[in-house]
């Protein structure tokens, strides 16, 4: 394939190498340095997509991030991605792209019927129809069709094979944009000794002057750029980030950057992330993000072959591509003359420059040069209409003073309505904008954060002015970051160019019904803006939302200000009165994978493993999440179900002995003279009576009186205590204690530290527990020597090793039980030693499911199902624990009337009379009523008790303690289950607690 529109010379593409690529299945060639868009243009391809609403044929309009039309689906297997801007996608060997939003083909798209029917589809038409017949079913049917017509590309269907990274960075000066202003700023800031990060969204620095004809310091821009980049790269305190877009400006000068590490390659090299998100904390930001050109609305201004003038210029100068053969330029300012000259020099016939301005305004250097080159200039004229079907074929020009239209044939229309500084990040930083009448655009004004704008982003459009503005901004930024300027250094210089004024022109009046587009991607027309104003959608935000102006993937970079100006004209007010919509991150769309970074998929949250984790896995445990921890649910044997395993394990604890990993419980050590007083204040029960070597169960409340957490606290020495918390609340309880000690009661002499990570812990439970333990520990564990609630240090024999251990006689299962704590590094050795010692006694490891069964049989409440944040200690049957001798956190508000009502839901035990208590069941008196059926309570926990051979549960029940003996229904409409249950006390086994005291 020949590149029919490639120029023989010029630009930064490497003509010595060719790259093969395809678009909609057709094979083409381009060169390294090409964007997909430039390569398509080099092959004479203009038609690249269909618009969102009317499915109108569309071509490449811009040469950068502002592209509204040239969105393609990149097809590379699982690496396919929709809506990629062809203007920013670097060409690589084998790139395969497809057009979007068309069927069956780009040239013949059935959806274009919408364009024919467009009179029925003005802005917001959907709010006025699709309401008949009544009922939600019908809208779902309409919506189904609407949704299929909308959208652009297709989402990948397979998991993203690439990975993404985050990186934190700190600098004194962050320079956003590596064009002439940004390079000059980075250079001067670095010269002051500042740590500088310079980022640019392109693969190479230099911005608009890459390949340009101007001279900097008397040399071609390319050599100045190269020298500047080399100098910066050699400075160890400068980080250069090409292919990196600053997308968001957050508080305290945190700027988010996206580095496209590998998007210019078919796939990332091994181990290389596809993209990297930088969190840059900058002392000060120099915003040198350049400016974006805007269009002018006229009939047919969306035909392929229509381009912004600056983009046409860029394709010639940067990529060596001729975007057409016969061009008409339509402009209201001098910048388009640069494009005209460059096209002219590249051999494109410039048939006419229609300039809206009068002759008197055309005194600038570039218009004069164009005139001298013999390019026809038509002052005071405009394009009123473009002709063509899939490509522009000609335009009708009129004199703005009136008169007949005159047709000129062309295959390229270059439009310039003026330039808008890319103030998006300035605005995101909360910087204020001001409207500049001369440039007819918004410029940076004042900013509360440390940011300065430079170059075109600051409203400077002359190269010399851009360079000196950037140069000065770099020094200012370094100085504000605390770096003094070295000896004076001159700014890079460029020849001054004289420029005529801009004449604001937003649209050209068209015949009725002709479509003049303001927003190309979302098909918003001048008439739509007028309709919104007519119907009262007059706030700029209403305009945006009613017409969808600026809500496409380009976020209105080319059209928004045109829409604002047209709204202002409709309302008869000045443009600044209308204001702008809020600029929000991201500046350009950001890949979700990059935002998530490493913390995606299985790494969404870190995973915590106990010291015995590998043992559990090796022994067939099914692991479940408990907060961030993994815990064994049960240890099913081959052929055994999880439920059967849990029942076997639970039964074994009651009959013989079992061992469970309880390392995940929160553990907090407390030391100091006032620990007992502190415990008195945080727990409902009393602590000043706890002896050394003893532990006690305690319940904590929140300030509102509801149960917060429970656990045991042990007194290890006169001044040293160990508190345990639930697994899920470990972090919250620690923060709560630190808050009380540091903020509320700093006078208390208490020091607290979390030791959850220090100790591996296992609970040994069952009638044989003592016999097992006695074989491995160094101390006497008889009932007399080590009674219920005793605590003591000992050594535990693990093979030949002696492990320091701490022993607690406490029970959750209701059986004779001990907790063994050893330093985490000895956790697995301890576990294996106890399992080995227990083998003759029939020991089995048990998981959280058996643990739950055992505690339900005992009526022990759990934070979550029973202590659900709405229950008081009294609701849970622990009212007696609340000491009357002292106050504690949460006690004062327990006096509120609704918390002392006899109608409260209280903890009870349930036994199924027939069938199984349903999971998540609700308690009702009569399940046969019509909805809504009053609910008396709900099943909080339930299990099959292998020890009672019964389906039992715990429940919260209105006036529950007064209902013991009553029969109610436990119902689960979801499972279509209803079971009669008998209400009783919550403890089913050994209510006197004799088994745990033997």
């Amino acid at each position: 394939m020949t590149q029919s529109h490639r120029l023989a010379a010029g630009g930064i593409v490497d003509r010595s190498r060719t790259l093969d690529f395809s678009f909609d299945g057709a094979a083409y060639q381009g060169h390294p340095g090409d964007m997909l868009a430039s390569a398509l243009l080099a092959n004479g391809v203009h038609l690249v997509g269909r618009s969102f609403k009317y499915h109108r044929p569309r071509g490449i309009v811009t040469a950068g991030a502002d592209e509204p039309n040239a969105l393609v689906q990149l097809a590379r297997g699982a690496r396919t991605e929709p809506n990629t801007r062809a203007t920013q996608q670097e060409l690589y060997q084998g790139l395969a792209a497809a057009s979007q939003n068309r069927w069956p083909s780009l040239r013949f798209d059935v959806g274009a019927l919408n364009d024919v029917l467009s009179p029925l589809f003005p802005a917001g038409f959907y709010y006025k129809t699709f309401m008949w017949p009544p009922g939600p079913r019908w809208w779902l049917k309409y919506e189904h069709a609407i949704r299929r017509a909308a959208g652009l590309g297709h989402a990948p269907r397979n998991p993203d094979p690439d990975h993404y990274q985050h990186r934190h960075a700190h600098c004194d000066v962050l320079v956003i944009g590596g064009g002439p202003a940004g390079l000059a700023a980075a250079q001067s800031a670095a010269r002051c000794g500042a740590r500088v990060i310079l980022c640019d969204e392109n693969a190479a620095f230099g911005g608009s002057v890459r390949g340009a004809a101007d001279a900097i310091d008397g040399a071609p821009p390319a050599s100045w750029i190269a020298a500047c980049v080399d100098q910066l790269a050699a400075n160890g305190d400068v980080t250069l980030l090409p292919r990196t877009t600053a997308f968001g400006y957050y508080d305290q000068n945190l700027v988010g950057l996206i580095e496209r590490v590998a998007d210019h390659l078919p796939e990332p090299p091994p181990f290389t992330p596809r993209q990297r998100l930088w969190h840059v904390r900058a002392g000060i930001v120099v915003l040198a993000s350049g400016a974006l050109e805007r269009g002018i609305a006229y009939a047919g201004n969306d035909l392929p072959g229509t381009m912004l003038a600056g983009a046409a210029q860029a394709y010639v100068s940067r990529y060596g591509v001729k975007p057409g053969t016969r061009a008409v330029i339509f402009a209201n300012n001098d910048s388009a003359y640069g494009a005209a000259l460059q096209l002219h020099n590249a051999g494109v016939t410039v048939a006419a420059i229609a300039d809206a301005r009068p002759q008197a305004a055309l005194f600038g250097d570039h218009p004069q040069r164009a005139r001298a080159d013999g390019i026809p200039i038509l002052p005071g004229s405009a394009i009123v209409r473009a002709h063509g079907r899939l490509r522009v074929a000609g335009v009708d020009l009129v004199s703005l003073g009136g008169g007949a239209a005159r047709r000129i044939d062309c295959d390229l229309v270059c439009v310039s309505g003026g330039w808008n500084p890319a103030v998006h990040l300035y605005s995101q930083s909360r910087g204020k904008l001001r409207y500049d009448d001369a440039l007819a655009t918004f410029l940076p004004d004042v900013a509360p954060q440390a940011i300065v704008a430079a170059g075109a982003a600051n409203g400077k459009f002359d190269l010399g002015a851009i360079l000196s503005d950037g140069h000065a901004a770099g020094f200012v930024a370094a100085a504000r970051a605390g770096f003094a300027a070295p000896a004076r250094h001159a700014a890079p210089a460029a020849d001054a160019v004289s420029t005529g004024p801009l004449l604001p022109l937003w649209s050209v009046p068209a015949r009725r019904g002709a479509k003049c587009f303001v927003d190309w991607q979302n098909d918003v027309t001048v008439a739509d803006v007028a309709l919104a104003a007519r119907e009262g959608y007059r706030s700029v935000e209403h305009l945006k939302r009613y017409t969808t102006l600026g809500m496409g993937t380009d976020q209105g970079k080319t059209g928004n200000i045109v829409g604002l100006a047209l709204l202002a004209a409709e309302l008869g007010v000045a443009i600044p009165r209308v204001g702008t919509t809020t600029f929000r991150p991201p500046y350009t769309p950001v890949t979700l994978g990059t935002l998530a970074g490493h913390e995606a998929g299985a790494d969404l949250e870190p995973t915590r493993h106990s010291a015995m984790h590998d043992w559990h896995v090796e022994h067939g445990a099914r692991m479940l999440n408990a907060g961030l921890w993994k815990r064994p649910h049960s240890y099913p044997r081959p052929g055994e179900s999880e439920d059967d395993a849990a029942n076997r394990e639970a039964k074994n604890v009651r009959n013989r002995v079992g061992l469970v990993d309880v390392s995940t419980l929160g553990k907090i050590e407390l030391q100091g003279r006032d620990v007992a007083e502190f415990l008195n204040r945080v727990y409902i029960n009393r602590w000043d009576t706890l002896a050394v070597g003893r532990c006690r169960y305690g319940v904590m409340l929140r300030d509102d009186g509801m149960v917060f957490d429970d656990g045991t606290t042990s007194r290890l020495s006169a001044t040293h205590y160990l508190m345990t918390t639930t697994t899920l609340n470990a972090v919250n309880v620690m923060q709560h204690l630190e808050y009380l000690l540091q903020v509320e009661w700093p006078e208390l002499d208490v020091f607290a530290t979390s030791v959850t990570e220090q100790w591996a812990a296992a609970a040994l439970s069952g009638p044989m527990a003592r016999k097992v333990l006695a074989t491995v520990v160094s101390i006497d564990v008889s009932n007399a020597a080590f009674p219920f609630l005793a605590v003591g240090d000992c050594e535990l024999a693990a093979g030949k090793a002696r492990i320091p251990a701490r022993l607690f006689r406490m029970s959750y299962s209701g059986e004779l039980a001990y907790e063994i704590h050893v330093p985490v590094t000895h956790g697995r050795a301890m576990w294996e030693a106890v399992m080995a010692a227990g083998e003759p006694f029939g020991i089995m490891a048990y998981g959280t499911e058996a643990m739950s069964t055992l505690r339900i049989e005992k009526g022990h409440v759990v934070v979550g199902p029973e202590a659900d944040g709405r229950t008081t200690a009294d609701d849970l049957g622990m009212g007696k624990l609340v000491s009357s001798a002292k106050s504690c956190i949460g006690k004062p508000l327990l006096a509120r009337p609704a918390l002392t009502s006899p109608d409260r839901w209280q903890l009870v035990g349930l036994t199924a009379i027939d069938g199984m208590i349903p999971r998540g069941g609700k308690l009702v008196a009569d399940p046969g009523q019509a909805a809504p059926i009053p609910m008396l309570g709900h099943v909080s926990s339930w299990c099959w008790s292998p020890n009672l051979d019964a389906s039992i549960g715990l429940a919260l029940l209105e006036r529950g303690r007064a209902r013991h003996g009553e029969t109610l229904w436990a119902v689960s409409p979801l499972a279509d289950a209803r079971v009669r249950v008998r209400v009783g006390p919550p403890c089913f086994i050994d209510p006197e607690g004799e088994r745990l005291r033997v």
Binding site: F52, E81, N83, L120, F125, Y127, K128, T129, F130, W132, P136, W139, E143, R147, G151, L152, H154, A155, P156, P159, Y164, G248, Y250, L254, L277, A527, E535, G536, Y546, T553, Q555, R584, P585, P586, P589, T591, L592, L595, E599, A602, L604, L624, R702, D703, D704, F708, G869, R870, R896, A898, L899, G920, K922, A931, P932, I933, S941, V971, L974, A975
Partner: protein
């Protein structure tokens, strides 16, 4: 002019040059029978129902900016009534019933799309809670279904339903009638309908003070002068504390920022609403094709309507944990809204301790779906001077009495709900 396919076709013939204003922009009168502060969905609905249900037509809605510019235009458009506790369940179900007929009621297509709301369940404990809630819904006469992991995998193949997921999906609670509503249309539809009933909607009119006379409301000072009234309703969620403070009232509310975002538009890939409490995430696909998603608060008091990266990154990470194929899609826009976070996570729709003053607010994350019922009940309370059965529990006094409606059980930490 009544909206229909016929009026649309008729206007097409005249190039849509004869559509009337959807609402007037009147100058404020000196006095109104009732004033509603806040021109969002809740305020406009209040005014509409005052006129429609209670024949109080001499009403003004005062909006400091542009109508629908607060949380009405900043949410993720989800509607549902899948609540566990009775007051919330009955209230939100009433709201859902109003949503079902709202397009016809207002003659404005609000696009109530009953595409289902699926709450994913990630653990046995999570499943207990979800089934308990689903059972409560059924007993309250609200539609609910429990789906197994396999059913979910077949329905939404993009979801990672494998057991190797960080938080494996083990099932889900579905409310089929839940779904989405086009958010802006709600404000505009109520505004147009209220305007048609004679309500004055006054934009760019900020209330700067509330005047009291002998313990009763006598009017409001605004940026456009004093306006007198005896019935003042506050519907400014996000800013409820500021308005209440003008009447000397402190509320059990903190303002927090909640971010939301959309992806670039893509062809249909997700035709229901998927949420997960465990990874703090919710997502749906709009009619334009954008994936609309959100998650947790930024967790500090804020009136700034913009958030920071950590919360946003976590939302996206949660998205990709559930939908690993979405990694190559791009975020198009993100924004923040200001939530009234109450101390029990449930709203306040009630008389305040000043005669003639009422509020609807304290919506936490859930204000959008409440819009019709909030307006209906707020109007009832304003008109009758007493609450309706459906908002009797949502008082300000419930905290002092100990009658919190704490769905999540997280207690008096506003940002935890």
């Amino acid at each position: 002019m009544r909206y229909s396919i016929f009026s649309l076709a008729r206007n097409a013939l005249s190039r849509h040059e004869h559509w009337p204003l959807a609402w007037r922009s009147p100058e404020p009168k000196r006095s109104y029978e009732a004033i509603v502060v806040g021109g969002g969905g809740h305020g406009l609905a209040t005014a509409y129902y005052l006129a429609k249900e209670h024949e109080i037509n001499n009403v003004a809605v005062l909006e400091k900016g542009w109508l629908g510019g607060g949380n009405t235009g900043r949410n993720t458009t989800i509607v549902r009534s899948n609540y566990h506790l009775d007051p919330n369940a009955h209230f939100y179900e009433f709201s859902l019933k109003l949503w079902e007929t709202l397009s016809q009621e207002l003659n404005f297509n609000v696009m109530y799309s009953a595409r289902g709301v699926l709450n994913l369940v990630h653990s046995p404990a999570d499943m207990d809670a979800a089934i308990r809630r689903g059972n409560a819904m059924c007993l309250n006469g609200i539609d609910a279904k429990f789906l197994s992991r396999d059913q979910i995998a077949a329905w939404i193949p993009e979801l990672d339903t494998s057991s190797s997921a960080r938080f494996p999906i083990v099932g889900g609670l579905l409310q089929p009638r839940g779904g989405t509503v086009r958010h802006d249309a709600v404000a505009w539809g109520y505004a147009r309908a209220a305007d048609a009933c004679g309500v004055d909607i006054i934009q760019n009119c900020e209330v700067t003070g509330i005047r009291l006379d002998g313990g009763a409301v006598s009017g409001v000072d605004t940026t456009r002068g004093f306006i007198s009234t005896r019935k003042l309703g506050i519907a400014v969620a996000g800013n409820s504390s500021r308005l209440a403070a003008m009447a000397g009232i402190r509320l059990p509310i903190e303002s927090h920022v909640l971010q939301a975002m959309v992806s670039e538009p893509i062809k249909p890939v997700l035709d229901t609403v998927v949420t997960s409490g465990v990874v703090h995430f919710y997502i749906s696909q709009s009619d334009k094709g954008e994936l609309v998603m959100g998650g947790d608060l930024d967790f500090y008091n804020s009136y700034a309507q913009r958030g920071n990266l950590p919360a946003l990154e976590h939302v996206v990470a949660a998205c990709l944990a559930l939908f690993p194929s979405f990694g190559r899609l791009r975020q198009l826009r993100s924004w923040g809204g200001i939530m009234d976070m109450t101390m029990d996570g449930s709203p306040i729709i009630a008389k305040l301790p000043v005669d003639g003053l009422t509020m609807t607010g304290g919506w936490c994350y859930g204000g959008f779906k409440a819009t019709p019922a909030s307006g209906w009940l707020h109007a009832y309370t304003m008109a009758r001077g007493e609450p309706h059965r459906l908002n009797a529990a949502f008082t300000l006094e419930r905290f002092a009495e100990g009658r919190m409606i704490d769905e999540s059980g997280t207690g008096p930490k506003a940002w935890a709900h």
